[in-house]
């Protein structure tokens, strides 16, 4: 596999959690300085987490939604041109998770807002020329349970509404050339292999997004999962972890921050225990030709993470 075809997600920038100097991430200059550094790290493709939150507080310097891009660049084409100037010639994908909208006891609000903004995000992905739109099919299980303590009894109803929403998105995606893929985070109502019945209920155009760390934390061997599902995989995220969820952290309100024992759940690629070289080799052997994205979410240092990830990829055979 040619590692030059593997992209990097902009989720390596910590937009939401406290740390010194994070305020710079809200200004346009930070991102425009970042893009050439991404290219210098050997990446030509990026992934953008779509985050509606940045349009609500006038923080349009964060290039994570259509409003921000239109405010700062006029339109997606101008933004792509700006990326191209920095040597990034492709926005491979856009991701969307609905956690922002799980904030009260109204399930109608959750699905209404999620559906609306997921539609916006999908259209934005098309404008950016993305290959895939990766959606998380649920908010954090623990956050849902906080606002809806009876969620276990209502999971079938939730799944039905989610299915309806995803069918609508699938229909829109089919007309745009963007592949709709389902993320399989370990904290989801549809974690691990629970994603499969949801996928079964959707059109065949909808594919799986394999996240190697999330599968590992959910207790599933990513190599086995990939081998079994290879024909349904539309995107692969190379994520790393050393975390073992022995206290049902996945059920907590903030599952990426285990409350019993603080730890960095998602490690920089190559520094955890997931054998990412084996995964890439397996994908190669199985003839997988779809998008592959590295993710260093939760990194303590995005610039070190870029180089660590490149150092890992340099160990792969071209």
């Amino acid at each position: 596999m040619n590692s030059e075809q593997i992209g990097i997600s902009l989720d390596l920038i910590n937009r939401h959690y406290q740390e010194p100097n994070r305020n710079r991430y809200e200004s346009k200059y930070f991102w425009e300085e970042l893009y050439p550094l991404i290219r210098a790290s050997g990446f030509r493709a990026i992934e953008i987490p779509y985050e509606p939150v940045w349009q609500f507080g006038g923080r349009s310097g964060v290039p994570m939604n259509r409003y921000c891009i239109n405010t700062k660049y006029g339109d997606a084409a101008n933004y792509r041109a700006k990326l191209a100037e920095a040597g990034i010639d492709h926005v491979a994908g856009v991701t969307f998770d609905p956690n922002l909208f799980m904030r009260n006891g109204s399930i109608d609000f959750y699905f209404g807002a999620s559906g609306h903004f997921a539609g916006e995000a999908l259209a934005h992905a098309a404008d950016l020329g993305a290959d895939y739109f990766a959606i998380s099919p649920s908010a954090y299980y623990g956050r849902i349970a906080h606002y809806h303590p009876d969620i276990d009894a209502k999971i079938a109803t939730f799944a039905d509404r989610e299915t309806d929403m995803l069918r609508g998105l699938a229909e829109k995606a089919e007309g745009t050339g963007v592949t709709l893929v389902l993320r399989n985070e370990y904290w989801s109502l549809f974690r691990g292999e629970r994603i499969l019945p949801l996928l079964d209920a959707l059109p065949s155009s909808v594919k799986l997004d394999v996240d190697t760390a999330s599968l590992t934390i959910a207790g599933i061997d990513p190599a086995d999962f990939i081998t079994a599902q290879i024909d349904r995989i539309g995107c692969v995220h190379l994520t790393d972890t050393s975390f073992v969820d022995d206290a049902e952290t996945w059920k907590t309100a903030n599952p990426e921050f285990p409350e019993q024992r603080a730890t960095q759940v998602f490690r920089d690629p190559g520094t955890g225990t997931v054998d990412l070289r084996q995964i890439v080799s397996l994908l190669d052997r199985l003839g997988y030709a779809g998008p592959i994205m590295c993710s260093a979410r939760q990194t303590r240092d995005p610039f070190r993470a870029l180089l660590r990830t490149r150092a890992l990829l340099n160990q792969l055979q071209n």
């Binding site: 406290q18 740390e19 010194p20």
Partner: protein
Amino acid sequence: MPNIRYANMCHWKAVPYREIPNFREFYYEDKTNTAYYSDWDKILKYQSALGFDGIEIAPWDLADILPLFGSPENFAAFAKDRGVEVIGMFHGAHASHAADHFDEAVKSGREAVDTIVKFGGTYMNTCPTQNYFGSGPLTREEVQQCAKVMNEIGLYATDHGVKIGLHNEFFCAINLPNHRELIESTDPKLVHYCIDTAQISIMGEDLLSFYDTYHDRISTFHLKDTASARQPDSVRYSQDPEITDDGTRWFWEPGLGELDLKGLYALLKKHGFKGWMGIEYDGSPDLLASMALTRYYLDNELRPIYD
């Protein structure tokens, strides 16, 4: 008992842990300072150690705080155990100038008051409506509509032991031409004012004359400095001006800008202000350093004038 107590407006971004039980182990994972900014236990201890006994909650943090602590009451108790009390919460009265939004704006304001009461707070500093860009200039009727919403929320708040304080941003649709008109259109018994020293100066108000004029309406402050007073319409009315593209800062720690904060303290003494002085560090790259610098300036420059 001093006349002024000090609080911080919460500008910490999401803090993911309540308390980290394995701090040394967590530190050794990567040997960076991440561990020092990841739990409320330490954030509140930093505040307490630096003499900031109050915290004003940011409403955008509720979606993280409430699931993390289970309830506002739990958060308030956790903070109190560390020497910090919740004094209130900021509120944005979105679209309060729009007549067809009256019911929703009032409902949202009342819900915010209810949340503050659960936290044990008594202040709701309230931005009267959204940004100028996209909604300004407001008509006289729209300003009056805004005042009507503030009075209605203020009535509910007063009945629940909460003081609402108008809090104007320099980029708000309520702006220099109608700022005082709004204040004077509200009921002084129900609607108070929170002076954000930098915001109103950037907007074009003279800080000292404004306080001198409205001192009996002032419920609390957001104290911060600026080196950018009296910005022109072209800046204040532009799209999303709060976060600049090139990283230029509007706001600085007290003493690092150009405002006459010593003059303000002389006026606080003249009018015998008693209450909470909230400090705000938006734009700071290092909130802990800003907090410490502020404490030094307070103790050495401002508190000797009036305490």
